[in-house]
């Protein structure tokens, strides 16, 4: 229970965050009290909570095989961006973020300041208010946790879940995959919030999630949640030019593109919006093994 770094530092940081916080009509009471008050229209709050940890989701020092080191600003940016990506996957509009920041001892108050500056810049781009949070100094890796509140954009307060895929749906991704960590794209990607809200307003989308664990791991999640199988045409899966071989690129993860299943009637509109068709949803019970022609995925059949 070391209290050797004075709490005054924490209060000073909170005061600086508050000073820089952009006004938002969605935050009735912001940083500075025991809790914040966030206005929620329509009765449903959509809430994502993801952490990023030094050594797992970013590194501050150059290390072989770890891709480029992050600046403090990019660390703050990523901590918010991964949550924005989660809300994109629900076709929901982010509104207010809550941030807790465990700072490695010795990095200094400047580090926390720069993390928050990077986060606030991205928050401003997405019209998100940073409405509350907490900090501590720890003898170990930096851990930043963001809880992001948003609101549904579909009628009746609906969201797009993972569990709505049906046989004959077309599978799409919103962009190329692979090599995100090695290239540093995991620090600089643009969460697909605007794309998802626009697409969901114009086309029926049965299921959607963001590709954070790798295409096939996330397709596995979608199939299990929906009780369906999937067939992917590996020749159609778009890869980044700096990505490794196919099998590696679809396992890298941290792409933060969206993976979606939509009925054939939506397919043309989604293609027109830039989505790339990669396969099809099938009934469970068919052959679940990868084949030479592609990758046949039969989850949900177990």
């Amino acid at each position: 229970m070391s209290r050797d770094e004075p709490p005054a530092d924490e209060f000073a940081l909170i005061e600086r965050i508050r000073t820089r916080a952009t006004a938002s009509d969605r935050v009735a009471l912001g940083i500075g009290d025991d809790a914040a008050v966030v206005r929620v229209s329509g009765g449903n709050a959509v809430v994502a909570a993801d952490l990023v940890a030094e050594g797992t989701h970013f590194t501050l020092e150059a290390r072989p095989g770890c891709g480029p080191p992050a600046t403090p600003e990019l660390v703050g940016r990523k901590a918010l961006a991964v949550n924005l990506s989660d809300l994109a996957a629900m076709a929901s509009r982010p509104t207010a973020a809550f941030v807790t920041l465990a700072v490695r001892r010795g990095l200094g108050g400047d580090f926390a300041d720069r993390v928050m500056l990077g986060m606030q810049a991205l928050a401003a781009e997405f019209d998100v208010a940073i409405a509350g949070g907490d900090t501590a100094v720890v003898d170990g890796p930096v851990v930043i946790s963001v809880t992001l509140l948003g609101e549904p954009t579909l009628p009746d307060g609906r969201v797009v879940m993972r569990s709505g895929a049906r046989p004959n749906d077309v599978l799409f991704v919103t962009g190329p995959l692979g090599g995100s960590l090695a290239s540093g794209r995991h620090l600089t990607f643009t969460p697909r919030v605007a794309w998802a809200i626009d697409a969901a307003s114009r086309c029926e989308i049965h299921a959607m999630l963001d590709v954070s664990d790798g295409l096939f791991a996330d397709l596995d999640h979608l199939c299990r949640a929906s009780g369906v199988g999937a067939e992917v045409d590996r020749d159609k899966v778009p890869l980044n030019s700096d990505a490794g071989a196919f099998d590696e690129a679809v396992r890298d993860g941290e792409d933060f593109e969206l993976l979606l299943a939509a009925p054939p009637a939506s397919a043309d509109a989604l293609r027109h919006a830039g989505a790339i068709e990669i396969g099809r949803v099938v009934e469970v019970g068919r052959d679940a093994r990868p084949s030479a022609e592609g990758y046949r995925h039969g989850f949900g059949s177990r």
Copy 2:
């Protein structure tokens, strides 16, 4: 970017949390998708976000001067309890919690499980749903962050803030202070949620916060936010029997009792409800130094 502990562990933990999650009519979509959907009645969500870190807010090994070590269950309990205490201070009713858990490498999956069991037991007592979260393994201290959503209980979606104290208000605390860390009470306290909601429904309360930084540090927060001063009668401040000397007991912090300012007309009802009068709110500009009779507090005058 070590990914040496398989993500399967994370998925398994999330699955176990989901299995144990209690059903709640406030959570329209719970753990397992990219985000959760929480029903918010009345249009206002009250949101607190506090972290607890190993070495700062708890210790897992016996160390001189650190009080009793915590079990994993008590760590999970405390991570939620400090946030419940924040919502109590707003006279708000907690509904749904989001948890991110950075687990020190080597503690094993059993540790995370036991943390969540301890948290879920307290969540069940307070009718709170654990509705989402995230985990990672780190080479350093355990860091648990909880974001707690709740709803106002006062008419028109109002909450009790820190900033409403006025001269002549009576200052109260809800229980004895001091020695919380040394005794281990910081791990086992009962957040004053029920007391606060009941008291605020029956009496006018101008300002309230929970005593986490120590009585005078938190009184300082209340005075600055309200633009007032305060006079505390040190003989009236209730101390725990195992607390140290007065000056130490009021600086220990982590008491998680409530400190409140209420108009004289509310005083009898609050006394009847068990609150203990400790002083009075005064106008700013009076002598701000401690005096022999008591502790005269003149913040806001700077």
